[in-house]
């Protein structure tokens, strides 16, 4: 088993689904001969041809809308947003057209909209966004967000096979930073809607997803060494639908919970998680539900500014220490 990066795992997952199912095709900007801005679809056009790897104009609404129309006809389109920041250009199409189609009209719309998200890469305000909260509020969509190479592969396969529209968020900071051995020739599928315990612990739970899974694991190591704390880290993997049962299990086990995400705080996913814990596991809590998130500002470019705004490992360590002592 060779080590496979997060990006290569995603690429493998896409490739294998294209091989497995002739209904799957890719459309997006510069995805063909160029192979995508991050080379996720490098070599695809050579293998699968221009009819299944379609270069489009710079038109996110048309990309998503055309994917929806094709999906109604039984195809399985995978639409790439060159950077996920541009998914806002397709917000109308996703929330009004795609998300409502099954409910209002009984129309199956099995599309995947995927793209590189997230910061820690000095991308500035428009190449670093975390768009999940804008779509988390929309019934009819699913949102998956892998943190590991294994899940990058497993979730793209699950997303393509799902009968509903799925937004697949891939963190560009993880693309080449994370690698792990993956078995060859095995059909790795990560079920949508199931969280994963990334680290077992008994003293305190961190509920998180995406790049901050790794920051939280680093913090947990440090807290174990310096404070003797056994911190449990729950990687949500799917944001919509959320795995409430897994969240309540870890709350009932440790009785203290810190929610960590890279997105800004106000109206973020952490608020919803806190509300659910309050409704479903209030009696199990031995302390307040606390959040570590980005500050409520657009994400700035300069390293000093970006580092200040985004949650860092040290922030998680400090917040966890405070909560453990509560």
């Amino acid at each position: 088993m060779a080590d496979v990066t997060y990006l290569e795992a995603l690429r493998q997952g896409l490739w294998e689904e294209m091989e497995r199912d002739p209904r799957v095709f890719i459309l997006g900007e510069d995805v063909g001969l160029y192979g995508g801005a991050f080379k996720v679809t490098d070599g695809f056009v050579k293998r699968f041809g221009e009819a299944r790897v379609i270069d489009t104009p710079i038109s996110e609404a048309a990309i998503v809308g055309a994917a929806a129309g094709a999906a109604h006809m039984g195809m399985r389109p995978v639409a790439e947003m060159q950077f996920i920041d541009f998914i806002s250009c397709a917000y109308d199409m996703l929330t009004n057209y795609v998300a409502t189609a099954r409910y209002r009209a009984g129309l199956a719309t099995p599309i995947v909209v995927r793209g590189p998200c997230g910061g820690y890469v000095r991308g500035g305000p428009f190449h670093s966004q975390s768009p999940e909260a804008a779509f988390f509020h929309t019934p009819g969509l699913k949102i998956v967000y892998p943190a590991t190479a294994r899940d990058a592969k497993g979730l793209i396969k699950a997303a393509i096979r799902d009968d509903d529209p799925v937004i697949y968020l891939e963190h560009k900071w993880l693309y080449r930073r994370i690698k792990e051995p993956l078995p060859d020739g095995e059909d790795l599928v990560t079920p949508i809607g199931e969280a994963r315990v990334a680290r077992e612990g008994k003293d305190l739970s961190i509920v998180t997803y995406g790049a901050t899974v790794w920051k939280s694991l680093e913090a947990a190591d440090q807290l174990a060494q310096e404070d003797g704390l056994a911190v449990e880290v729950l990687d949500l993997r799917t944001l919509l639908p959320m795995d409430d049962a897994a969240i309540m299990r870890t709350v009932e086990k440790t009785n203290k919970v810190l929610i960590v995400h890279e997105d800004t705080r106000t109206g973020g996913v952490a608020g919803e998680i806190a509300a659910r814990i309050n409704e479903q596991a209030f009696a199990w809590l031995d302390g307040p539900i606390m959040r570590v998130t980005a500050h409520d500002v657009p994400l700035p470019y300069a390293p000093t500014l970006e580092d200040f705004v985004l949650p860092q490992t040290e922030d998680i360590v400090k917040a966890a220490r405070w909560l453990a002592a509560y």
Binding site: P57, Y97, A105
Partner: protein, 349 residues
């Protein structure tokens, strides 16, 4: 029987490759459209229609004649709110439309969506959503699928003079043109977008000019002329079917009612309305042409009119007293899985 007599030898040749039976069938769809809408007005006034009511009075011809150029059961169109006639042509039943307007449990969307917002892809229509322009990319995707699969099928999508100002229209038309998908766009110039006149909506004279900016061949025709609309659409559909990409047909017509039934049209010059009603009603025009050309007799048209009334009467009687959907049915069908959204805890207290 005299009323079914064949045209006399002196009658002009039936136009556009249509048979006499087809000319009468087009008349039947026109009459059915207007009769159904008139019935909906009555139901609206009795508060049986739950939401707003949208009329196509004065522009029925462009809907029916354009849809009639498609192959039913093969091609797919996407109508706007004033294209009721196009849906009837593709096979939608009047009772489905009555149920939709009255939000009945048995309506195609089980009370979830309004009026013409429903679909049957087997019959060949995909209902719009309210966000104008969105159906252009979606229909581009449907036409793209026809092309990818090598199917000789065509998509047709309607857009209004107002809807052509949206971003999705431009993105969708450009994408469709670049991808050379088999799509026909019917651009309706009906003078009013809610209350907004053309001079506040766009700076070109004809909507067809916009298409040329995307390399899309376009023509402008009299939208109240059955034969002109049918011939232009038929030619575009055949070219699209042969792989010649996107075509746009601008149909000039006139919206004689307000945006919806509540709209008193105070912004419309009264003499303008009167002129279109008296001089350019598209169904009257068509009936006159059928009679003058001896393609139909007075009796035949009267029989079609009476049959349309009977059909709408029966459809109304069959559904007007049906129940609305049960409230809790609102939770189902957001996803394929899970099957239903959870009911809130306090609803079970």
């Amino acid at each position: 029987m005299a009323s079914h007599a064949a045209p006399t030898p002196q009658a002009p040749a039936v136009p556009a490759g249509l048979t006499r039976a087809q000319l009468l069938e087009i008349y039947r769809y026109l009459r059915l459209t207007r009769t159904l809408e008139e019935r909906l007005v009555a139901l609206y006034r009795q508060s049986k229609v739950v939401g707003g009511l949208f009329r196509s009075l004065g522009q029925e011809v462009e809907s029916v004649a354009s849809a009639y150029a498609l192959e039913r059961g093969r091609d797919i169109l996407s109508p706007l709110i004033r294209n009721l006639g196009s849906m009837l042509v593709m096979g939608a039943e009047p009772i489905a439309i009555l149920r939709q307007y009255m939000a009945k449990a048995e309506s195609p969307t089980h009370g979830r969506e309004l009026n013409l917002h429903f679909n049957d892809l087997e019959q060949g229509y995909l209902g719009q959503i309210s966000h104008l322009g969105d159906m252009i990319p979606v229909m581009a995707g449907i036409a793209l699928t026809f092309k990818l699969r090598g199917e000789a099928r065509v998509g047709l999508v309607y857009i209004g003079d107002g809807g052509m100002s949206t971003g999705t229209f431009h993105e969708g038309l450009n994408f469709a043109a670049v991808a050379r998908v088999p799509l026909v766009v019917i651009a309706e110039y009906n003078r009013w977008a809610y209350s907004t006149p053309p001079e506040k909506q766009f700076a070109v004279k004809d909507l067809a000019e916009k298409a040329r900016g995307y390399g899309v061949p376009a023509v402008t025709v009299d939208g109240n002329d059955v034969v002109a609309v049918y011939e232009a659409t038929k030619a575009a559909v055949e070219r699209a079917r042969r792989g010649h990409g996107v075509h746009l047909i601008e149909v000039k017509t006139y919206r004689r009612k307000g945006h919806a039934e509540h709209d008193d049209q105070h912004y419309v010059p009264k003499d303008e309305l009167a002129w279109w009603a008296k001089e350019n009603d598209p169904i009257d025009r068509y009936a006159r042409r059928l009679l003058e050309s001896e393609w139909a007799t007075e009796d035949e048209l009267q029989q079609i009119d009476a049959a349309a009334r009977t059909e709408i009467d029966r459809a109304t009687d069959a559904c007007v007293d049906e129940p609305l959907p049960v409230g809790a049915s609102a939770l189902g069908g957001v996803y394929a899985d899970p099957l239903a959204a959870p009911r809130h805890w306090y609803r079970s207290l």
